[in-house]
């Protein structure tokens, strides 16, 4: 395998974007990544689009073909990659394989989702379509419902409290205020979302014990990376950030089939694979983007990835270790909680944030002296997970 470099990154702000279609958003993000890479007259060999549900959300399929046409990249190869909320991560992995194998030299990976074209309950329904149709979906199971049952078990087993969950939301929304691409630009307090007698008005229950501020928003958005070989990257005169490790693992389709439903097996295995490939350990990571679609997930993932031992993630959070100025900053971008979670965009947006952090281009939310980054993109309810290690080369 050849080394693979992220030579260009680009995003558009995640928010409700009524003026843009899905393909408009993919094109803008893709354009920004190509501009960032300063490709000159080099041509792109292939385009991978991470997108979960353009058919159900936007009544449009084959969006990768639409995107190459829109950007004028023909005859580049083009495919849409679907892997639920890890569609973006899967698109990155496929682009990586294309370059690493020697089959392609320059690949554009774009992730995007336009969810706000449908009303809220419909968006909840579309996302719930990834659950088991016979064993889960028909009983009114939603992703927040699965996360709610998981949270109840995790709180009981490891002593995680409602305050810990709120701390994730407060930290990530504070970070979001420093990120112009973040959907939610609002400071929240423990009193306002949890401890005040009327806090339930601000943060009503979605699927108990999860409240509104424990859940990521429903967003429109797109993110893109341009990846290439080391040889070409050196000619582009951008800082060299390589995709040093890639991991992917699956688990049972349903939560009910896991012998211990609090064990995120696919998170553990995919992370171990990525670290092994990069020749690094969790303690070598300087900045991480985790998949906090629900606050509990940031805590649980930080343990399963290996940053903290089981049951210690909440304490590390409470001690401030995961703040931007802490020992291991987690989700300096604001994470899914504040940046937003246009499902197919997330896995790519995480890589974009890491590249900005490792290049030192993250502005007010810059993590000091970061040269190794980690991202985790969690598909389904943990049944298909991708992990990446990125490294800034000297």
């Amino acid at each position: 395998m050849r080394p693979v470099v992220v030579a260009g990154v680009g995003m558009i702000p995640f928010e409700r974007r009524d003026e843009d279609s899905l393909v408009d958003m993919l094109a803008m993000a893709g354009w920004n990544a190509m501009e960032d890479a300063q490709l000159g007259d080099r041509s792109i060999d292939a385009v991978y689009v991470g997108n979960m549900a353009s058919g159900l959300f936007n009544h449009q399929e084959s969006v990768a073909s639409a995107l190459v046409d829109r950007l004028g990249l023909m005859p580049a190869a083009a495919e849409r990659i679907e892997n639920g909320p890890a569609s973006g991560g899967s698109a990155v992995k496929n682009g990586f394989l294309g370059v690493a194998s020697g089959f392609y030299d320059i690949v554009l990976v774009v992730g995007g989702e336009k969810m706000r074209e449908v009303i809220g309950p419909k968006a909840t329904d579309v996302v719930a379509c990834m659950t088991h149709p016979q064993a889960e979906y028909i009983y009114g199971v939603t992703l927040p419902a699965l996360a709610g049952m998981f949270t109840r078990l995790y709180m009981e087993k490891y002593g995680v409290t409602h305050e810990h969950l709120a701390m994730v939301a407060i930290k990530n929304q504070e970070n979001g205020l420093l990120n112009p691409y973040a959907h939610i630009q609002m400071k929240i307090t423990m009193e306002g979302i949890l401890t005040h007698p009327q806090a339930h008005i601000n943060s009503p229950i979605v699927a108990d014990p999860l409240r509104l501020y424990d859940c990521c928003p429903v967003s429109d958005g797109a993110a893109a990376i341009l990846i290439t070989t080391e040889e070409i990257a050196q000619k582009l005169k951008r800082p060299i950030v390589t995709i040093a490790g890639v991991g992917q693992a699956t688990d049972t389709h349903t939560l009910q089939e896991r012998s211990d439903p609090t064990d995120l097996r696919a998170v553990r295995i995919s992370s171990q694979q990525a670290f092994k490939m990069a020749g690094l350990k969790p303690k070598d990571i300087h900045v991480a983007e985790l998949h906090d679609a629900f606050t509990i997930l940031e805590i649980a993932e930080s343990e399963h990835v290996g940053f903290f031992s089981k049951g210690k993630g909440a304490k590390a959070l409470a001690d401030g270790e995961t703040r931007i100025d802490g020992k291991l900053p987690i989700n300096p971008s604001g994470g899914l909680k504040a940046r937003g979670h246009p499902v197919g965009a997330t896995g790519v947006a995480q890589i974009v944030e890491l590249v900005w952090q490792l290049r030192g281009e993250a502005g007010e939310r810059q993590v000091k002296d970061a040269s190794n980054g980690f991202s985790l993109n969690f598909g389904g309810f943990g049944n298909n997970v991708l992990a990446f290690v990125l490294r800034r080369e000297a």
């Binding site: 009303i119 809220g120 309950p121 419909k122 909840t124 329904d125 719930a128 088991h132 149709p133 016979q134 064993a135 889960e136 028909i138 009983y139 009114g140 199971v141 939603t142 927040p144 419902a145 709610g148 049952m149 998981f150 109840r152 078990l153 009981e156 009503p204 229950i205 979605v206 699927a207 108990d208 014990p209 999860l210 049972t252 349903t254 939560l255 009910q256 089939e257 439903p261």
Partner: protein, 135 residues
């Protein structure tokens, strides 16, 4: 029409019929024909008793389209006495507080109705156990 999508599941939805693996005796629900334990062929039908206990639960206040009329409703992981876990709504709760470990039993109830001209979909839900059955 999507009638066949529901019709073909009538045994599992109405009678809690799953499978038992003839090779390793694992009880399987919902049926899947390939044993998740030993990966062997497993097509022997097996009817579950419908008794179990609540393993975890959540009350859903923000329902997806198609379920808004039912909200709030409680979804639970129910561990059947035969071993497997399944996911279902709890019903007939009255004022009884839900607790992990609460004994429950299967009943057949309406799951959703898709409008005046749409289908009525029935299936299993679980209620607090009325009588302690002798095993």
């Amino acid at each position: 029409m999507e009638i066949s999508r529901h019709w073909r599941l009538k045994r599992q939805r109405y009678a809690l019929i799953g499978e038992v693996c003839p090779h390793c005796q694992k009880k399987i629900f919902p049926p899947r024909d390939i044993c998740p334990e030993c990966s062997e062929d497993a097509r022997t039908l097996y009817q579950f008793s419908g008794r179990g206990e609540v393993y975890s639960y959540t009350t859903v206040y923000q329902a997806p389209s198609g379920y808004e009329a039912n909200a709030p409703y409680t979804v639970a992981l129910v561990k059947l006495v035969e071993g497997p876990m399944l996911t279902a709504q709890l019903t007939d709760l009255g004022d009884e507080p839900i607790e992990v470990g609460m004994p429950v039993e299967m009943v057949t109830r309406k799951l959703r109705s898709d409008g005046e001209r749409g289908m009525l979909v029935y299936g299993y839900k679980f209620r607090p156990r009325l009588i302690e059955a002798s095993e």
